[in-house]
C-alpha cells in the first residue's frame, strides 16, 4: 500500500489496516458479531506480515494476552462487541493501573444482555465512565466515517504509547460494514522501527530486574498513585479533546451526536438549514475527554441543545454537564439497534425547533 493511495475499504478492514500500518505487533480476539470481519482481517494480515495473531478462548483471555504482550513494549490491539467488552473490563482496569499501552475496539451492538447484532450507541457510559473498577479513565475516540476509522485507529496507537494508557475506539456494526474510500495520509511503521520503551519486562539483561504491578497495599502509596494517574488524565483532558461542528453559525438549536448518529444528524440538519431553520450540529470525536468547555462556550449564545443517540440517552448527561444549566438540553434516542432515518430525525428536530420558536 503506497501513501496517498485511495482505496475503497470496508470499515472493519480500515481499522485493521490502520493497526498494521501503525506497527501493531500483536492482535488477540474472539469471534463475536458484528466484529468478526475485523478479527478475520487481522488473522490474514498478521499472518502475511509475520506478526502475532491469536484467536483466544474468550474475550477475557484476549485482554489478558494483550496485557502480557503490551508489557513487552509491543503495540497491541484487541477488539470485541458490547458483551465481550463487558468481559474485558477487569483487564482494562489493570492495564490502566499498570500504565500499559493498549488499543481496544468496541463495535457496539444492541443491548443490554445478549441484545442483538444491530448497531447501537448504548456503551457510552461503559466507555467513558471507566467500565471497570477503580479511578481511571480510558481515552475514547468515536469515528464517523471509514476514513476516520482508519485515522483514529492509527491515532489511538500513538496516544496509547504517549500516555501509557488504554485507548478505546468506539464504533458500531454500521460503520464496520460500510464501504467508503480511504486515503492513507501517513507513513507505515514496522514494529521493529518503533523505539524501545524503558519500562518493559523482557528479561533483566544488563539491568536490575523490575516488576509491573498494581497491588499497592499501603493506602498512602495507593492514594499517591491514584493522584498521579489523575494528573495524567488531566494532561490528556487539556490536550486531546477533538470535535467538529457543522452549520453552527447563528444556530439556535444545537444537535449533539457522534459516530453513526452524527452521520444521520448531519443529513437531517442539512435539511433543516435548507428550510432556513437555525439548527447546527456539534460532533464530539473524543468522547473522553469530552468537549465540555466547547459546549459551555457555545451555550453562551445557543440556548437549546438536543442530544441524539442510538440509546435511551447516555451522552445527554455530558451535554447537561457541559452547559452548566445555561441552556435547555433535550434528548432524542432510539435504542436496541434501531437506526433512525434522517427524515425521522428531521421531523423530531422540526417539532422541537417550532416549539422553541413559539416560546420565544
Amino acid at each position: 500500500m503506497k501513501n496517498k493511495e485511495k482505496r475503497l475499504m470496508r470499515g472493519s478492514e480500515a481499522i485493521g489496516e490502520a493497526a498494521v500500518r501503525a506497527g501493531c505487533a500483536c492482535y488477540f480476539g474472539y469471534p463475536i458479531t458484528p466484529q468478526n470481519e475485523l478479527t478475520e482481517y487481522m488473522a490474514r494480515r498478521m499472518m502475511d506480515t509475520g506478526r502475532v495473531f491469536l484467536q483466544s478462548e474468550s474475550e477475557i483471555a484476549a485482554i489478558n494476552m494483550a496485557l502480557g504482550a503490551a508489557s513487552t513494549g509491543a503495540r497491541v490491539m484487541t477488539s470485541s462487541s458490547s458483551p465481550g467488552i463487558s468481559l474485558k473490563q477487569e483487564g482494562i482496569s489493570f492495564i490502566a493501573a499498570m500504565e500499559l499501552p493498549c488499543v481496544i475496539v468496541n463495535i457496539v451492538r444492541g443491548g443490554p444482555g445478549l441484545g442483538n447484532i444491530a448497531p447501537a450507541q448504548s456503551d457510552y457510559f461503559q466507555a467513558t465512565r471507566g467500565g471497570g473498577h477503580g479511578d481511571y479513565r480510558t481515552i475514547v475516540l468515536a469515528p464517523a466515517s471509514v476514513q476516520e476509522l482508519y485515522d483514529l485507529t492509527r491515532k489511538s496507537f500513538e496516544l496509547a504509547d504517549e500516555y501509557r494508557t488504554p485507548v478505546l475506539v468506539l464504533a458500531d456494526g454500521m460503520l464496520g460494514q460500510m464501504m467508503e474510500p480511504v486515503v492513507f495520509n501517513d507513513k507505515e511503521i514496522l514494529p521493529e522501527q518503533l523505539p524501545d520503551k524503558p519500562w518493559t519486562v523482557k528479561g533483566a539483561k544488563d539491568r536490575p530486574s523490575r516488576f509491573i504491578r498494581s497491588l499497592l497495599l499501603d493506602v498512602d502509596v495507593e492514594e499517591e498513585q491514584n493522584w498521579r494517574l489523575y494528573r495524567k488524565y488531566q494532561r490528556i483532558e487539556r490536550r486531546e479533546i477533538r470535535h467538529e461542528e457543522y452549520y453552527m453559525k447563528g444556530a439556535e438549536l444545537a444537535i449533539v451526536a457522534y459516530g453513526t448518529a452524527a452521520r444521520i444528524a448531519k443529513a437531517a440538519v442539512k435539511r433543516c438549514v435548507e428550510k432556513n431553520m437555525r439548527v447546527g450540529l456539534i460532533r464530539p470525536i473524543s468522547l473522553w475527554p469530552f468537549p465540555y468547555e466547547h459546549i459551555y462556550k457555545t451555550a453562551e449564545t445557543v440556548k437549546h441543545f438536543m442530544s441524539f443517540e442510538m440509546s435511551t440517552g447516555q451522552m445527554v448527561e455530558d451535554v447537561q454537564l457541559g452547559v452548566k444549566g445555561r441552556a435547555e438540553v433535550l434528548m432524542y434516542g432510539r435504542p436496541g439497534g434501531v437506526v433512525p432515518t434522517p427524515a425521522e430525525l428531521f421531523r423530531v428536530i422540526s417539532r422541537a425547533y417550532n416549539k422553541i420558536a413559539r416560546e420565544k
Partner: protein
Amino acid sequence: MKDAATHYCQGCGHSVIHRLTAEVIEELGIADRAVGVPPAGCAVLAYFYFDVDMIEAPHGRACAVATGIKRANPESIVFSYQGDGDLAAIGTAEAVHSANRSENITVIFVNNAVYGMTGGQMAPTTLLGQRTTTSPAAAGREAHREGYPIKVSELLASLEGSTYIERCAVNSVRAIRRTKKAIREAFLTQMNGEGFSMVEILSPCPTNWKMSPVKSWKWIDEVMTPYFPLGVIKDSRKGSKKDAG
C-alpha cells in the same frame, strides 16, 4: 532471589518452591531472560523475592498473560506461578487452552488444597472429607454437593498440546530434591521450544490446615498423595522415555 524476609507462614511450601525455582533459573543461566507472572494468592508478592522481571496478572489469568508475553517476545523464558484457586478455578480456561496450544511457557502450580490468602476456603483441589471455611460441615467436602477434587495434571496431560507435566511434593528432603529436578525439566522443555510444561507441587499450608508444619508434611503423604499421585504424568518431548498415558 532478593534479600528479603518472606511474609509466608511458618512451614509454608511457597518459600521452598520459590527457592527451588530461583535456583533452577540461575543454574540454567536464564535469569536475564526470565519473566514471571505471579498469582492472586499468598504468592502475589513474589516479585519482592524473585530477582527477575515480573508482571502481575488479574486472578486466574496468568496463563493468558504469559501467552501474550511469550508470543510478543519469544526469547524470554516465561513462567507463571499459580495456586489451586488461580489455576484450577477461575483460571481453568486459560490453563487448558495454553496447554492445548502448547504455548512455550512453564507453569509452577502450587497445590495446597485450599484458598490460602483469603483464609482457608474450599478449592477445586480440596479433598473429599476435608473441612474448610466454605465446606464446614462435619463431613467436609462431599461429592454430591461440592463435586470432586480436580486432578489438574492429568486433566492437562490429556490434551495433545501439553508436553511435560510432573507432580511432586515438598514434604521431605527427597521430595524437595525431586521437585527441583522437575522444575528444571520443565524449564528445559521451554528452552528447547518443546511446548507447554507444568510442575504441580503438593505443598503444605499449616495455617489453614490447622496443623503444625510437621503434621502438614504427614498429611501430604497420608491424604494428598494417594489421591494426587506423584510422578511424571506426561513427557512427550523428543527422546524421552515416558510417553503420554
